[in-house]
C-alpha cells in the first residue's frame, strides 16, 4: 500500500480544514471496510487519510417524533441495529444495516460510509431512498443537502466534492401507519454483495396506500428510486394485482448487467419478486402501528 499521513481530528471544523487543505489527495476514513480494501488494491491512493470517528457530531443518532432522525455519518451499523427506536421506527433501514457483511463488518462500517462508497449494490442505500433520506454535507463552501437518491453519480463516484464531508443523514419521521422493509437477494445466506436490493416504505390509510417509496439497488449503475412502481400503488389496497403491477414496474426500472453475481435477466426477475415481498412486509408492519 502507498504510504500516507493519518489524521484523527476531534471536531468537524478540524476535519474540514484537513480535507480542504489536501483536496483530492485526502480521503475520509470511517469503518474502513471498503476504503482499506480499495487502498490495498491500489484503486484509491490517498496521501492523507482522515479518520472521522473521533468527531462527536458524526457519532450521534437522534430521533425526534416530529423532525425525524438525524443519523451521524459515522454511526456504526451495529449501533443502529441495537438501537430500540431504530428498530421501532425504521425497521427496514435497521435490517439493511444488519445485512452489511458480517458482524465484524457491522461493528466497524457505517451507513454513511456505505453511501459515500458509491456502490450501486450498497445495502443501506435503497433503504435510505425508500425513507426519503437527505444527506447533509459540509465543505469549504459551507453546507448543503442532497437527497440520497441523487447522491451516487456512478459506481464509486458521489456528489461529494474535494474537501466535502458527509455529516449526517436526515430522515423524516414516519407518518402514522407507515413502515418500511428492506430485502436483498444473495446466493449464500450471509456475506455476499446484493444481487438485487429493494427498500420499500409505505403509508396506509384505512387499508389503502396513501404514500409509497421504493429504492432499488444493484440493477443499474447507481441505486435508483422506482417512481412508477411506487406511484402505481397509490390509492390501492395492497392486493395481488397491485403487488404484481408494482413488481413488474420495479423490474422494468433498472438496466441491470450480467456479472459474476447474476445475469441481467435474473436481476430483473428478482427485482419483481423482492419488490412484492418487501411491500408485503412493510404493509404488515404499517398495519400494526
Amino acid at each position: 500500500m502507498q504510504a500516507f499521513n493519518f489524521d484523527s481530528p476531534t471536531s468537524l471544523d478540524d476535519a474540514l480544514k484537513v480535507l480542504a487543505a489536501h483536496g483530492e489527495k485526502a480521503r475520509p476514513l470511517c469503518g474502513g471496510t471498503d476504503l482499506i480494501i480499495q487502498m490495498r488494491a491500489g484503486v484509491r491512493r490517498p496521501e492523507h487519510v482522515v479518520d472521522i470517528k473521533q468527531i462527536k457530531e458524526l457519532r450521534e443518532l437522534k430521533f425526534d417524533p416530529k423532525s425525524g432522525l438525524r443519523l451521524g455519518a459515522a454511526v456504526s451499523c451495529i449501533e443502529i441495529h441495537e438501537h430500540a427506536l431504530m428498530r421501532k421506527h425504521y425497521p427496514g433501514l435497521t435490517e439493511a444495516a444488519h445485512l452489511i457483511g458480517s458482524l465484524q463488518i457491522q461493528n466497524r462500517a457505517s451507513v454513511g460510509g456505505n453511501l459515500c462508497n458509491g456502490s450501486p449494490a450498497a445495502d443501506s442505500t435503497p433503504a435510505l431512498i425508500a425513507l426519503g433520506a437527505r444527506a447533509r454535507i459540509a465543505g469549504p463552501k459551507g453546507e448543503r443537502e442532497v437527497p440520497v437518491d441523487k447522491f451516487v453519480l456512478s459506481p464509486g463516484r458521489t456528489v461529494l466534492e474535494p474537501g466535502e464531508l458527509l455529516v449526517e443523514l436526515l430522515i423524516p419521521a414516519p407518518a402514522p401507519h407507515s413502515s418500511d422493509a428492506y430485502l436483498r437477494f444473495i446466493p449464500r445466506n450471509e456475506m455476499d454483495i446484493a444481487v438485487v436490493g429493494v427498500g420499500a416504505s409505505l403509508t396506509l390509510d384505512a387499508g389503502k396506500i396513501t404514500a409509497a417509496r421504493i429504492g432499488l439497488g444493484a440493477i443499474a449503475a447507481t441505486p435508483l428510486v422506482a417512481v412508477k412502481a411506487a406511484e402505481s400503488l397509490i390509492g390501492k389496497k395492497l392486493d395481488d394485482a397491485a403487488l404484481a403491477l408494482a413488481g413488474r414496474l420495479a423490474s422494468e426500472a433498472g438496466s441491470p448487467i450480467d456479472d459474476m453475481r447474476g445475469t441481467a435477466e435474473y436481476r430483473r426477475h428478482i427485482t419483481g419478486v423482492l419488490t412484492t415481498r418487501a411491500l408485503t412486509i412493510a404493509a404488515e408492519r404499517a398495519a400494526k402501528i
Binding site: 446466493p187 449464500r188 450471509e190 455476499d192 444481487v195 456479472d259 453475481r261
Partner: protein, 763 residues
C-alpha cells in the same frame, strides 16, 4: 501382514482423545508458515500478468530497482532451463520444464495472474509499490478459456512444443487421451430398455484453504538452503525446488510449518524456489506470502469439465452399457485429473460393456493441482445424475438400483483388475437404514437426493521412528504434515502397540533432514501409509524391548510375551515388567531404543461414500436451501472417530459448495472476476445444516489395522446428490455446476412457460 493388535480388541484406537497439538492451536501459539520471522528478513511480492494469453516483449526493472528499500528483482530469465520431461515426484507426475514456467513465466504468460517477476524489499509495502513500477510490454494473444474452444480446429495454441501421441507432430492443445474399453457397447445399448444420454458441464473450483501460500527462504553462502513453508509435502517441496533451481536435493532442507488447509492445493510449489533465489541474491532471509487474489488467480484449482454420458439399463434394473466422453481443463500446462476421473466415473458399478474416453486439454487458466479425490467429483456429478434417472425409469428406489449394480469383492474395476474387499454395499446400506432415509420429507418444493462416490486412496512412501524415553513414555516422529489431526492418529497407533496411554506418546512432524523420505499428505494416505510405518516402527521398538527384557531376566526373547504394556515370561515365573520399568534399565542393557520403519505401502483399500441430501427450492428465486444431510463412508478402521467424522463433514461441505455456488468466473478477455472470498462463494456457517455422519468399517485386508484412508471420497457425491434432490423438488435435471440461483431460475421459468403453453393448448 501382522495380526491386528490385541487380537482386534483395541484400547486406544476408536477412542476420541484430545489432539496433542490442539492446545497450541487454540492458544494461537502454533507456527504456520507466515508466522516465521528472522532477523534482517526481507519481504517479497510478485508481479502478475493482467492478460490471459500474451507474449512478453520486454520487462523493464529500472524504476522498480530505484525505489529505496528494494533489494533484488528476479524474472523467468533468472531460473535455469529445466528439462522437458515427465518425472515422478511423490504421488505426482511433474514436468520440471512446465513447473518452472508456471513459477515465473519465460516468454509467454498463459493466464490472468501468471507470475512474471519477484521483488524483495525491506517491507512488504515497499515490495508492493516496486511491483507497480515494473514495466512490461505485452503482445496480447486471444485467450482460450474452455475445452470446446481449445479443441476446435484452428484454435490458438498455448504451448507450441506440446504434442500428443495421436496427432503426431501437430501443434495441439490436447495433451493426452485416455481410453478404457470393455465388452461391446453397441450390443450393450441394443439390449437396453432405457437409454439416457446427457451432457454435463462443471465449473473450475478452488480448494479454498484459508491460509494463503507462504515461504521463507534462507540461502547461506556455503550453498545450503532452508525453506520454511506450509506444505502438504516437505519432501516434494525439496525435490521440486531443487529441480527448478538446478541445485542438489541434499543442499535443501525443508521445515514444514503448520499448514492452514491444502486439500491437494499445497502438493506443488510456487513461492518456495523464489524465496531461496531472492535470499541468494540478497544474503538475507526472504519471506513471500500470497494474497487471496493471488491464491485464486494463480495457484492450482481443479478442472472445469465437459462430460457426455450415455448409459443404458434393462427393465429389471441392470446397467448394460455406458459410454463416456470427458474433457478436463488442465489449465495452462498439461496435467488435469481426467485419467482419474475416467477411472472413477462408473467405478461403483459392474457394467459389462463400456467405453470411456478422457482428454486432458490446456486452456488459459491457472495450472490445475490436486483437489480432494481429483477428477472424481466432476465425474460423479454426471454419472450419478444419470444413475438416478435410470433408477427412476426402472421404477426402483435409487439405493436399490445402486445395490443391484454395485461392485463387491471380485467385481472388475473400470480398468480391469478385480476389487479386493470393499465396502460399497455396506455404505449404501448404511444410508438405506439411516433414520434420515427412513424419515418422510414433506412440504412443497422439497426434494431428497442420494449419490455415491468412489476414490482409489493412495499408498506410497512413509517413514516413522518411535523413541522410547527413559521414563517409559514415547515419541513418534513422522514426515507427514498434520493437516487435520493426524498427529493424534499416529500417537494413538503408537500407544495401542506399546500399551501406553495416548497422553504418554508425543507425536511430532519432522523436517526433511530429521526423518526418512515421506511422500505428501494427500491421497488419503497418512493414516494408511504413515500409520503403517508407525505401526511397524512401534512393533520394531517392542522387538528391541523384548530383547532387553530377555537380558534382564537372563532368558531367551522367545520366552517372553508382550501384552497390555508389559513383558511377561511365558513360563509365568516372573512378575510382569512394564515398559516404564524396563525403560529405566535401557542404559545398562545396551542404550536407547528407537523403533524404525519405512514403507512403500502396498495394500491400498479404496473408499466409497454415499450422501443423502434434502433441499428446499425457493420457487420465486431458485435459491436452494439445504435442509438435512447425511453421509456414510467406509473408513476401513476409524482410528480417531472424531477426525474421521471431520474429514467426512469437511469433504461434504466442499462438495455442497461446489454444487451450489462456487465457480471461477472469467470475463471474455480471460480475466478472473471473482478474485476474493466475497465473490468466490464458499459455504458459510449459515449455509449448511449439521452434517450427520455414519462411519462404516469394512476393514482393509491390506493394512495391519484395517485402515483405508478417509480424506477424500466425501467430496465426491454431494453435487450429484444435490442435483438429484433438486430434481425431486422441482422436476428439473440440472446438468451444470454450480447450480446457482440464476441458472436454476432460468430452467424453472422455462419449465413453467412450457407447462403454461401446454395447459393453454389443452384449454
Amino acid at each position: 501382514m501382522a495380526a491386528a493388535t490385541n487380537n482386534g480388541h483395541f484400547k486406544v484406537i476408536g477412542t476420541r482423545p484430545i489432539r496433542h497439538d490442539g492446545i497450541d492451536k487454540v492458544m494461537g501459539r502454533a507456527k504456520y508458515g507466515a508466522d516465521y520471522a528472522f532477523p534482517g528478513m526481507l519481504h517479497g511480492k510478485l508481479l502478475r500478468s493482467p492478460h490471459a494469453h500474451a507474449r512478453i516483449k520486454s520487462i523493464n526493472l529500472t524504476k522498480a530497482l530505484a525505489l529505496p528499500g528494494v533489494k533484488a528483482i528476479i524474472t523467468g530469465k533468472d531460473l535455469p532451463k529445466a528439462e522437458n520431461k515427465l518425472e515422478q515426484s511423490g504421488e505426482m507426475t511433474v514436468n520440471p520444464y512446465y513447473l518452472s514456467m508456471n513459477i515465473l513465466a519465460h516468454d509467454k504468460v498463459l493466464y490472468d495472474g501468471h507470475a512474471i517477476a519477484a521483488v524483495a524489499a525491506t517491507n512488504p509495502h515497499i515490495a508492493e509499490e516496486a511491483v507497480r513500477l515494473i514495466e512490461v510490454e505485452y503482445e496480447v494473444l486471444p485467450p482460450v478459456m474452455t475445452v470446446d474452444a481449445a479443441m476446435k480446429p484452428g484454435a490458438p495454441i498455448l504451448l507450441h512444443d506440446l504434442r500428443n501421441k495421436e496427432e503426431g507432430n501437430k501443434e495441439t492443445n490436447v495433451a493426452q487421451h485416455h481410453q478404457f474399453k470393455r465388452g461391446d457397447i453397441e450390443a450393450g445399448f441394443k439390449s437396453a430398455d432405457f437409454i439416457i444420454e446427457r451432457e454435463f458441464n462443471t465449473a473450475m473450483v478452488h480448494q479454498g484453504y484459508i491460509e494463503p501460500h507462504n515461504a521463507v527462504g534462507i540461502y547461506n553462502t556455503d550453498g545450503q538452503a532452508t525453506i520454511y513453508c506450509s506444505t502438504q509435502g516437505a519432501f516434494d517441496v525439496r525435490s521440486l525446488s531443487a529441480q527448478v533451481l538446478g541445485i542438489a536435493v541434499g543442499k535443501i532442507k525443508v521445515v514444514p510449518a503448520e499448514i492452514g488447509g491444502g486439500f491437494g492445493g499445497k502438493t506443488t510449489i510456487y513461492l518456495e524456489p523464489l524465496s531461496v533465489l531472492l535470499s541468494k541474491m540478497t544474503g538475507a532471509p526472504v519471506k513471500l506470502v500470497m494474497t487471496r487474489g493471488e491464491v485464486l488467480r494463480a495457484t492450482g484449482p481443479t478442472s472445469g469439465s465437459k462430460i457426455k454420458v450415455k448409459m443404458g439399463a434393462t427393465k429389471d434394473g441392470t446397467i448394460v452399457a455406458a459410454q463416456v466422453w470427458m474433457a478436463y481443463e488442465a489449465g495452462a500446462y498439461p496435467g488435469s485429473p481426467v485419467g482419474a476421473g475416467a477411472m472413477c466415473i462408473i467405478a461403483p458399478y459392474t457394467i459389462e460393456n463400456l467405453q470411456i474416453d478422457g482428454y486432458d486439454v490446456v486452456v488459459n487458466r491457472p495450472k490445475t493441482a490436486a483437489y480432494r479425490a481429483p477428477g472424481a467429483t466432476n465425474a460423479a456429478f454426471a454419472s450419478e445424475t444419470i444413475i438416478d434417472e435410470l433408477a427412476d425409469k426402472c421404477g426402483m428406489d435409487p439405493l436399490d438400483f445402486r445395490l443391484k449394480n454395485g461392485v463387491k469383492e471380485g467385481s472388475a474395476q473400470v480398468v480391469g483388475p478385480p476389487f479386493k474387499r470393499i465396502g460399497f454395499v455396506e455404505t449404501c446400506e448404511a444410508i438405506k437404514n439411516s433414520e434420515h432415509y427412513k424419515s418422510k420429507l414433506t412440504g412443497k418444493n422439497r426434494g431428497r437426493g442420494v449419490a455415491t462416490g468412489f476414490w482409489f486412496n493412495a499408498g506410497m512412501q512413509s517413514s516413522a521412528t518411535v523413541n522410547i524415553h527413559t521414563d517409559g513414555t514415547a515419541s513418534v516422529v513422522t514426515g507427514s504434515t498434520d493437516i487435520g489431526g493426524s498427529r493424534a492418529a499416529m500417537a494413538m497407533i503408537t500407544a495401542e502397540v506399546l500399551g501406553l496411554p495416548v497422553t504418554d506418546v508425543r507425536p511430532l512432524v519432522a523436517d526433511t533432514d530429521s526423518i526418512g523420505h515421506t511422500d505428501v499428505t494427500g491421497g488419503s494416505r497418512v493414516t494408511f501409509a504413515t500409520g503403517m510405518a508407525v505401526y511397524e516402527a512401534a512393533q520394531d521398538a517392542i522387538k528391541q524391548l523384548t530383547e532387553r527384557a530377555a537380558k534382564v531376566w537372563e532368558i531367551k526373547p522367545d520366552q517372553i510375551e508382550f501384552r497390555d504394556g508389559a513383558f511377561h515370561s511365558k513360563a509365568g515365573d516372573k512378575p510382569p515388567m512394564a515398559i516404564k520399568e524396563l525403560a529405566k534399565r535401557l542404559a545398562r542393557t545396551g542404550g536407547p531404543i528407537t523403533g524404525r520403519a519405512s514403507v512403500n505401502a502396498r495394500g491400498v483399500g479404496p473408499g466409497f461414500a454415499a450422501t443423502l441430501v434434502d433441499v428446499e427450492v425457493d420457487p420465486d428465486t431458485a435459491k436452494v436451501k439445504l435442509l438435512r444431510c447425511t453421509i456414510a463412508q467406509d473408513a476401513g478402521r476409524a482410528i480417531h472417530p472424531s477426525y474421521v467424522e471431520g474429514q467426512m463433514q469437511g469433504g461434504t461441505a466442499q462438495g455442497l459448495g461446489w454444487a451450489l455456488n462456487e465457480e471461477y468466473f472469467y470475463d471474455d478477455k480471460g480475466t478472473l472476476r471473482n478474485t476474493g472470498l466475497l465473490d468466490y462463494r464458499m459455504p458459510t456457517c449459515l449455509d449448511l445444516p449439521m452434517i450427520e455422519t455414519i462411519i462404516v468399517e469394512v476393514p482393509n485386508p491390506g493394512h495391519p489395522l484395517g485402515v483405508r484412508g478417509v480424506g477424500e471420497v466425501s467430496i465426491v457425491p454431494p453435487p450429484a446428490a444435490v442435483a438429484n434432490a433438486i430434481f425431486h423438488a422441482v422436476g428439473i435435471r440440472m446438468m451444470e455446476t454450480p447450480m446457482s440461483p440464476p441458472k436454476l431460475m432460468k430452467e424453472m421459468l422455462k419449465k413453467r412457460a412450457a407447462e403454461n403453453a401446454q395447459s393453454a393448448a389443452a384449454d
